[in-house]
């Protein structure tokens, strides 16, 4: 009876109710949309690397090390020696060590030198391995594997040859003109900084930095040299090492060992810890989004309340009639509450439908623009929780209106 009455009464005032529903739908879309993107950004952020237990670099501060080794931004300050790499990778607790070398770029995208094992052992997100959209990992010295975004924005295909620049930045003056690299593989999109990286072998990078024309000539004329044939190009130094351990238990011991290394000043960081530290530094971003969400909720609930309050003034006679047929004042209170809940329920439905159309559309855009892969499924646990709170807040927020109706009902003289 209560539900039927609330429904009929809403239908009777459909003009103002529809406007209110639209307002609240938009609020819910903003609320859920902003929060979804915030969560997804955080998730995508923390899924940039997984399965790597320690990252080793020079003593530079953990954030800096994380920034250049994982996010490929910032400037690697110093290198660590190849001998340190060899020493560390030989430690018994280590399952695998991947050396990486940064410092060159192409059209603003970073070039990373590494070993072919990188493609097997590096994992992101939920321990996902890198996958090749086309081609294969590098086998020859001047082979190049492109991240998905690099290939897409620069329009490269398998077989293209590319000149790398020395240093970072789009307008680097010094190009390694004499040595063209060949694209042999293109990775599938990951939504992580891997998409924006060009991968080549350490030996290839080393060769690109050769200065003696004779050496260069030797290499470029026998272009089909495989990596094992160029032992002499083993680098003297690298930028960082990613370590995968046999057992997680050894992480802290190993970290201490590396940090207190006698032969070279090294530092080892736990990527997970450093990632959350980095996210902390972006707390302003996080908090701003939170604030937006809260303000949107508050404003829409105030709007709802204003609409209800105005309607109750007009409905005093109706309320008196309800009282006369035996409705208690609490019935009137519940009626107003129920009307508010129905309005929010309808708005929520509209918002969810709208978002399930909007998100897939914005998905590609966001991935291209910001390299963040957002999930197009809006119905998540946190969102349900958010909606649940929204309903509770609605019920609380309309108490003034409902109380006003209740008081009116109690004091009604017919």
């Amino acid at each position: 009876m209560l539900i039927n009455l609330a429904y009929k009464s809403l239908l009777h005032r459909k003009g103002s109710i529809i406007l209110t529903i639209i307002t609240i739908s938009v609020s819910i879309i903003v609320m859920l949309g902003v929060d979804h993107i915030r969560q997804q950004a955080k998730l995508s952020f923390s899924s940039s690397v997984s399965g790597v237990d320690l990252i080793v670099g020079t003593r530079t501060g953990s954030l800096n090390l994380l920034l250049y080794s994982v996010f490929r931004t910032g400037t690697p300050t110093n290198n660590i020696s190849w001998t340190s790499y060899e020493r560390i990778s030989q430690k018994p607790t280590i399952h695998h060590a991947i050396p990486i070398s940064l410092g060159d770029s192409h059209q603003g995208y970073r070039v990373m030198g590494t070993t072919a094992n990188y493609f097997e052992y590096f994992t992101y997100s939920n321990k996902q391995q890198l996958a090749f959209a086309q081609g294969h990992k590098f086998e020859h010295i001047f082979d190049l594997v492109l991240g998905a975004k690099v290939a897409k924005t620069l329009g490269y295909q398998l077989g293209d040859s590319i000149i790398l620049s020395h240093g970072i930045g789009r307008t680097s003056f010094k190009n390694h003109d004499s040595i063209p690299f060949n694209v042999v593989g293109i990775l599938a999109a990951t939504g992580t900084p891997v998409d924006q990286t060009l991968h080549t072998s350490l030996q290839g990078l080393e060769a690109a930095h050769l200065t003696k024309p004779a050496d260069i000539k030797r290499l470029t004329q026998t272009a089909e040299l495989t990596l094992s044939q160029v032992d002499d190009l083993t680098p003297k130094s690298i930028t960082a090492i990613m370590l995968m351990l046999k057992s997680k238990m050894a992480v802290f011991t190993l970290q201490r060992e590396i940090n207190t290394d006698k032969q070279e000043p090294l530092s080892a960081i736990l990527p997970g810890v450093a990632l959350s530290e980095l996210w902390q530094t972006m707390a302003v971003f996080d908090n701003t989004l939170h604030l937006i969400t809260i303000l949107v909720i508050i404003s829409s609930l105030i709007g709802l309340n204003a609409m209800l309050l105005a309607s109750i003034r007009e409905r005093m006679h109706e309320i008196k009639l309800l009282r006369m047929v035996g409705a208690s004042a609490s019935f009137v209170f519940l009626l107003i509450e129920l009307e508010a809940i129905i309005i929010v329920l309808l708005s929520a439905t509209i918002a969810f439908v709208a978002l399930s159309f909007l998100l897939p559309i914005s998905q590609t855009y966001v991935l291209n623009q910001y390299g963040i892969l957002i999930d197009s499924n809006i119905i998540s646990k946190t969102n349900s929780k958010l909606m649940f709170y929204f309903f509770i807040f609605t019920a609380i927020a309309v108490i003034p209106s409902a109380l006003f109706a209740y008081k009116g009902a109690r004091n009604s003289h017919v």
């Binding site: 009777h12 006369m324 047929v325 035996g326 409705a327």
Partner: protein, 226 residues
């Protein structure tokens, strides 16, 4: 006795004001059809509200159907009213966005009286008795004429078999033919249901429909002093 008022004093808002009502001893026997007349503003509606328990007297006791309203909580009053008292006002008796059937059903749902019987049948037979065309039963009542609405109001008032029916100038917005029609339908139903009728109006031409007629100033001592 259906209605019994003793030593009633009532004033709106604060006690500094003059009393609107002052009734020493007034009672109405069961089954009577009582007509009370008096000029506008003398306190007729106030008396009816007191009888319904919508307002409480500053002093004195109101006893309806043997129950002292003073002793009831507002919840008990709500219950009591919906189970025992029907009412019809001058106009706007119905929730305007609901249909005749929905209005009557709503009234029946708040009462205990109809829990067992077939309510839909009762509603349709009442509407038929009151000569409301069946095509108007499901339309929102704000699309119906005042005369039709007042007849539906009678049906609504009778759905819970009230022992007491209160009518506050229900005919004042009706023209003469529909007024007579309304009055005969109302009194016939009251007789058939053995419902006590308390009817107030300033229009003394209605007198002949009743078996008991009182002047409001004879009941209310405060009225004369206005």
């Amino acid at each position: 006795m259906t209605i019994q008022l003793k030593n009633i004093e009532f004033s709106y808002s604060n006690s500094l004001q003059k009393n609107v009502l002052s009734v020493d001893d007034w009672s109405v026997a069961s089954g009577k059809k009582l007509f009370i007349y008096g000029p506008s503003g003398c306190g007729k509606s106030t008396l009816l509200n007191l009888v319904c328990g919508i307002i409480r007297p500053s002093l004195g006791s109101v006893t309806i159907l043997g129950e002292a309203l003073n002793k009831m909580s507002s919840r008990e009053l709500d219950r009591f009213r919906s189970n025992n008292i029907g009412y019809i006002f001058q106009q706007f008796n119905l929730i305007n966005y609901l249909s005749a059937i929905e209005n009557i059903t709503l009234a029946s749902q708040f009462s205990l009286a109809n829990k067992t019987i077939n309510i839909d049948h009762k509603i349709t037979s009442l509407l038929e008795t009151l000569k409301v065309n069946s095509e108007d039963w499901s339309r929102p009542v704000n699309t119906l004429s005042i005369g039709q609405q007042q007849r539906i109001a009678i049906a609504r008032a009778f759905i819970n078999n009230p022992k007491l029916l209160i009518a506050d100038e229900p005919t004042s917005s009706l023209d003469e033919p529909s007024r007579d029609n309304f009055m005969s339908l109302l009194t016939t139903l009251c007789e058939a249901n053995k419902t006590t009728l308390l009817f107030v109006s300033h229009d003394t031409r209605l007198k002949h429909h009743f078996n008991l007629v009182q002047k409001f100033t004879d009941i209310n001592n405060a009225a004369g002093k206005h």
